[in-house]
Symmetry: C2
Subunit: 468 residues, 2 copies
């Protein structure tokens, strides 16, 4: 008698060979079909079950492929001797301690998030039209994997823009595109090397600090004064690399003046190190023209320039870039091209066309006006409602300001009392390496994502929460 007596049902959706394979596999797992047992020949089993030999063949091959049975030449197929304990391997249920009932963010009426940008003025119909144009262009250049460094045409547009608007001197060959500043910073750590110490601004961009630390780098926080990072303190540190935001210090918002810039470049030359210049939102300056980049000022062999379209265009397409000096781009070309491009080729093509057709500079001009208006409303509302009881810090540029609130509340209390009236404001303590309570704490207020009415209303409500 056969020990294999499956009940096969040709009316089922599952093919017969799968039914047979599943049956034999389960019987082996249960131990009903014993190790070393010889399977019936295809011909015999086919006759017995009244199905074709092909079906048996396919099921047997699958069992062989997965290792449940073995073929012995000229003898036939035998059940593999699999360790019993192992076969009945306990199957645990995955336990997620994600608290399903955890408090969700309440519905804020007004959210002063500094990462938000104004999406209402994004030229969505133009972007859509150009995306569709990209979609209908040469299929193979949109579907297959592009250059590791990013599409040449987009890099050329970026280099033109950087020269004209930011004074950055670079060629398309020096630009590497990546899906966000974070990924590019990881790539930079690899290119620069992780043995030396990196200095960061304190307070400064917290994500950069996390990335350097996560990459195993010794991070040295350096104080910031009213001109930016303190060069004396930097000199005393053992750092050879420094990450700075000279055009609009994050979060304090000041511009690094020319003499400090020159001191910084001098430090870098002495150390034969690198300055990482993160120019994250310098497109938006409300007095005069944007401050030219540090990269364009000195020996650009020491300066690595970074920029992003997240603030100035939209964050969801995930396009940032880095301009590498020649030593690093050569190192990149030799080895790091092994890291494939992380940005969608379609979006790169669309952004290239968007820039090339002039929409990018038009959009920037429009957004400068939009943000300038919002910024003005923010400052005038603060003056109107809060007056002397607050100080405004970093009010000349960007999409956020700091508000030093002099009512005796701690940072936590300021956030909590705002939260109670459904206004979300954000701490600045997270931007410090080690935060020490200040006499008066500062709150970061982003305004990019709010309209003018919300801004005024928000400040008025905060006055009620904080200053009455």
């Amino acid at each position: 008698m056969f020990e294999i007596m499956p009940i096969l049902d040709s009316n089922k959706n599952t093919p017969l060979y799968v039914q047979l394979y599943e049956y034999i596999k389960q019987e082996i797992q249960k131990g009903t079909i014993k190790p070393e047992m010889k399977l019936p020949s295809k011909r015999k089993l086919a006759n017995y079950l009244g199905i074709s030999q092909n079906t048996i063949q396919t099921a047997y091959e699958q069992l062989c492929a997965e290792g449940y049975v073995e073929s012995k030449p000229r003898k036939g197929l035998f059940v593999t001797n699999i360790d019993d304990d192992l076969l009945h391997y306990p199957i645990h249920e995955t336990k997620l301690n994600i608290d399903k009932d955890k408090k969700r963010d309440p519905e804020y009426i007004i959210d002063f998030n500094s990462g938000k940008v104004d999406l209402d003025y994004f030229p969505y119909s133009i972007w859509r039209k150009i995306t569709i144009k990209s979609l209908f262009s040469d299929q193979s250049s949109i579907l297959s994997l592009g250059e590791a460094q990013g599409e040449k045409c987009l890099r050329e547009e970026i280099s033109k823009y950087l020269f004209q608007s930011r004074g950055v001197r670079c060629s398309a060959e020096q630009i590497v595109i990546g899906s966000g500043t974070q990924f590019l910073l990881i790539l930079l750590c690899m290119l620069i090397g992780k043995e030396c110490s990196y200095a960061i601004e304190n307070p400064g961009f917290h994500r950069a600090r996390y990335i350097f630390k996560d990459q195993g780098i010794d991070v040295q926080p350096i104080s910031v004064d009213e001109d930016g990072i303190c060069i004396d303190e930097l000199r005393k540190s053992s750092a050879k690399v420094v990450y700075v935001t000279p055009s609009h210090q994050f979060p304090n918002g000041m511009v690094m003046p020319i003499s400090r810039r020159i001191d910084l470049l001098k430090w870098c030359e002495e150390k034969a190190g690198y300055i990482i210049e993160d120019d994250y939102d310098s497109e938006f300056r409300y007095k005069g023209k944007p401050i030219p980049s540090l990269q364009g000022l000195g020996n650009s062999e020491n300066v690595i320039y970074m920029g992003t379209f997240s603030k100035s265009l939209i964050p969801s397409i995930r396009i940032s870039y880095v301009v590498l000096p020649s030593t690093l781009i050569n190192k990149y070309q030799e080895y790091y091209k092994v890291y494939k491009q992380t940005v969608s080729r379609l979006h790169q093509d669309t952004l290239y066309r968007f820039m090339e057709e002039g929409h990018w500079s038009r959009h920037l001009n429009k957004m400068r006006t939009v943000y300038r208006k919002k910024h003005k409303i923010l400052l005038s509302s603060i003056n109107k409602y809060m007056g002397e009881k607050v100080d405004i810090i970093g009010e000349n540029a960007g999409l956020h300001i700091l508000l030093k609130v002099k009512n005796g509340m701690s940072e936590e209390e300021l956030i909590k009392t705002a939260f109670d009236i459904k206004i979300k404001v954000y701490p600045t303590s997270i931007y410090y390496d080690k935060y020490e309570d200040a006499e008066y704490p500062s709150i970061i207020l982003g305004f990019g994502g709010l309209n003018e009415i919300q801004i005024e209303e928000g400040i008025n409500m905060l006055k009620n929460a904080w200053l009455i």
Copy 2:
């Protein structure tokens, strides 16, 4: 007399205030306007130049912002005392040693690249239509930054697919989406920790090896036999983490049988370590059904499962994913969400709709047939033209095979002689940690991107190069 005598031209495109600002800045840099000099008052200079005080004000503010001049209260504006040497900082031209004349890849007639997929059968019109649908959907959900982990709707579709087709047991909460396997492997290194050693298959996927080494991890290459990674050797190593390709070993192409899988799971349980299962192209198997995942077999608390849409759909949208066990997803939730999502939100939305409407499974079915045909042509051509003089390795699955060529040539000679007749074939030595010359070298032949005529023609030409 004024020391400031700019020639301003109101017919120029450059605004007057920019002309004035540029003039003063250059004179300061040249040393014509000396440090500590007092600038003329706005009123006087405006009268002298016959332009408005506002223009002067704007130019002065820019010079202040950049630090070329300083305001002294109740005294006026003075030129900053900037270190002369520093100001005339030598500006080097960036030297790129990218050899512009470097030999470009010649035009190959036939390229057996194993990374290429068939784009002709990609349902481009459907993808286009759905992309346009995504583009016309709720604007704010496409333009603003999405969840760090990836869009929930897409993660749900992926978890359903993985359960049905790959036997992976997971919820959407366990999935993290990222722009390519490389970025996700970097994230994994951070999540698992970099202190312990990681074992890799030898030969194995070279990019994984590079990433682990670039992340500063001690990498231990473990031999591969006909069943996959050798457990005895793994046990002797100090590794706690192992990166494997059990459904289709890269590059050798074998399937890890059930007993080896169970041994591997047992090793992992003993070590309290992790198995990283990279299931990069297991959708395509030419005999029977796809091999179920290792993750679904054992205690999924020890197995990290990775997959990608680069092979099975298109590489240019850059979508991969990783399924984390509960310990790691909890760790991710606590800290690593600080790393923002790297994939475009538009593409995530489009892929979700593509899967949800059933196009994904239809596409997979179609591609199985397409690749099965190509695969059959490849094997029959090799048999027909090359016969006994070659061995085929790993012929049951995936988009490549290995060809062991027994004509006495080295790997380098095989590639060179193919190159001479404009056929591109690829080495397997790069997949070894340390390559030692084999008696007969193996060449990797990818066929995904070639049509049936090219495949047969290519093999015929290779016969002429190698076996005559």
